[in-house]
């Protein structure tokens, strides 16, 4: 049994996990720093990196202990080295380098987006056939992109956001509505019982995309947030208890519908027979439900990352290395972080 220890510190989760080459998750320890960042309405990089320094040794020890293995049973160390917050990435990378040196084990650098893609296959009961082409939506507070997975080629970037990520749009919307942080769960809770058609928020069409990408498969959420601001300005009653559920539901629907529509367009354009979604926003119940409806209507298989693997975690990082992907780094000191690295995938 080959075991990889994964370390993830690219943003505000401090995480470590042990995963086998067969894809079995032996441990998956995640410490969310939400409580530290909540008062500031978003992730504060300096708070995140300070917390990683304090917490990571204990988190890694727990991952080893919960996996029920000894240190010398670790066969390799995988770490997120790109993209992410520079000062946060540095902590995880330094830890991984030191462990790889101490244990005499290979060090594997992992792209965070690629790790999210791997999370689709983690856990029991993934319905996807890896031999068939798949379009995956990776959607979180930092990323929103569509990626084509094929059995015979590297993952291919199809489209991405031009401005805010979907999770960022939810955070900003929640802040405007006074719903707190993180915005996705807060809006989801506030939207319960609301009419999602009550307010017609814009759907963020894209006419000129990033070079090489199809505008029809790209996203833009900055206009949505502005529309909400103007709506709240013009409708002071919108935040009272009677109206707030409708506003929240309409805003959530505006984000979700764009994600589903773009994924469906990508399925049409690529001819892929499978769809998937991963990342923190993929926990959203409205999104999961809409994706299930779309997949059923089109007759495509749908693989959704299990909720425990949607938010940032290290199991997905270890899984990349355990499956033989990622970038092997030798000597270990040669691993540099790439905070603003592109998604790191082939573009059409």
């Amino acid at each position: 049994m080959i075991c990889f220890l994964g370390i993830e510190t690219s943003c505000d989760e401090t995480a470590a996990a042990v995963v086998t080459s067969a894809g079995r998750v032996l441990s998956n320890v995640v410490h969310s720093q939400i409580a530290l960042h909540q008062p500031h309405g978003g992730v504060v990089p300096e708070i995140a990196s300070r917390a990683h320094v304090e917490l990571l040794p204990g988190i890694v020890e727990r991952a080893i202990s919960e996996a029920g293995i000894a240190w010398d049973e670790i066969d390799g160390i995988a770490v997120t080295s790109e993209p992410g917050l520079a000062s946060a990435l540095l902590v995880g990378v330094a830890a991984a380098q030191a462990l790889a040196l101490r244990l005499d084990r290979p060090l594997v650098a992992v792209n965070h987006i690629e790790a999210h893609l791997r999370s689709i296959f983690l856990g029991e009961g993934c319905p996807l056939d890896r031999a068939l082409p798949t379009v995956a939506l990776v959607v979180s507070g930092g990323h929103t992109c569509l990626i084509e997975l094929s059995p015979d080629r590297a993952p291919r970037l199809l489209g991405q956001t031009l401005d805010d990520a979907a999770g960022e749009a939810l955070d900003k919307g929640a802040k405007l509505m006074g719903l707190g942080y993180p915005g996705g769960p807060a809006i989801e809770a506030a939207a319960a019982g609301g009419d999602s058609k009550r307010v017609a928020f814009p759907r963020g069409g894209v006419t000129s995309a990033i070079e090489g990408l199809d505008p029809a498969l790209c996203f833009s959420f900055s206009g949505l947030k502005t529309a909400l601001r103007y709506y709240l300005r013009d409708h002071p009653e919108a935040l009272n208890a009677e109206h707030l559920p409708h506003v929240a539901a309409s805003y959530e629907e505006a984000v979700v519908s764009v994600l589903v529509e773009r994924l469906e367009s990508a399925l049409t354009k690529t001819g892929a027979s499978q769809a998937a979604a991963a990342g923190g926003v993929a926990r959203n119940r409205r999104l999961r439900s809409r994706l299930a409806e779309m997949a059923a209507r089109r007759g495509v298989r749908l693989g959704l990352a299990a909720p425990e693997f949607c938010s940032d975690n290290a199991a997905m990082v270890a899984a990349v290395a355990a499956a033989g992907f990622g970038r092997s780094v030798r000597p270990i000191g040669a691993l540099d972080i790439r905070p603003t690295a592109p998604i790191g995938l082939e573009t059409p």
Binding site: E46, E61, A94, Q97, L101, R102, G333
Partner: protein
């Protein structure tokens, strides 16, 4: 007993090996920038020169600043993760205390203040008294330059790893140029290691395994001048 000391608080990071409390090697990595490449190359050189592997080390010593955040985080993280698999001890001392020990020994004086640029228009400082073997620290504090003359004992020699920057900012002149040990002065890993080993021998506990940060992570409202300011660490 074999020990490794890491001192990355300044722009002159270094690592040192100790064999039975005697310095057995020093490696400097002046070109350490973003990333840890130069630090690990220096560590590799140092360990090879002594024919050692990290698993052979019994103790990890680390300087916790004040100083460059990225360096302090790297030093503490690397030390703790080299120590983790074998359950080896990690011992932290303030880098500034190690520098104070050197200056007290050099000057034979009774007091030394170690200062640095804390950004946000303030300086960090610590005042040490002693005979050079074990400088007794007052708390690390932060203050704007205009308050420093009243806060630092007039007899204290002054030293800083940020001397050139403080010179440009007028802090050196404000406190009296003659009091300063001129030039950027940073402790090296041998000095940090010596201080840690002396403290361990004396039964003094490690300082917390976290960097000495001059400021909270998020900028706070400006303090009133009468406020002595929060202690660091």
């Amino acid at each position: 007993m074999k020990a490794l000391a890491l001192e990355f608080s300044s722009e002159m990071p270094s690592l040192a090996l100790f064999d039975d409390e005697r310095p057995a090697g020093l490696a400097r990595c002046p070109d350490a920038g973003r990333g840890n490449r130069a630090l690990f190359e220096a560590l590799d050189r140092l360990l090879r020169s002594a024919a050692l592997h990290p698993r052979d080390l019994d103790l990890f010593i680390v300087g916790r600043g004040p100083g460059r955040y990225s360096g302090l985080r790297a030093a503490l993280t690397i030390a703790r993760f080299l120590a983790l698999p074998g359950g080896k001890p990690v011992f932290a001392v303030s880098s500034g205390a190690a520098l104070a020990a050197v200056v007290l020994r050099e000057t034979g004086g009774a007091a030394v203040a170690v200062l640095g640029d804390a950004r946000r228009g303030e300086c960090w400082y610590g005042v040490f008294r002693g005979d050079g073997d074990e400088p007794h620290p007052d708390a690390w504090r932060v203050a704007p330059p205009e308050e420093l003359p009243a806060r630092l004992p007039p007899e204290a020699a002054l030293v800083s790893p940020d001397y050139e920057r403080l010179l440009r900012q007028g802090v050196v002149a404000r406190l009296g140029a003659a009091r300063w040990r001129a030039g950027d002065r940073a402790p090296d890993a041998v000095e940090v290691g010596r201080l840690a080993l002396r403290r361990r021998r004396a039964g003094i506990a490690s300082e917390p395994l976290s960097p000495l940060y001059p400021h909270p992570a998020v900028a706070a409202a400006r303090r009133p001048p009468a406020d002595n300011g929060p202690q660091m660490g």
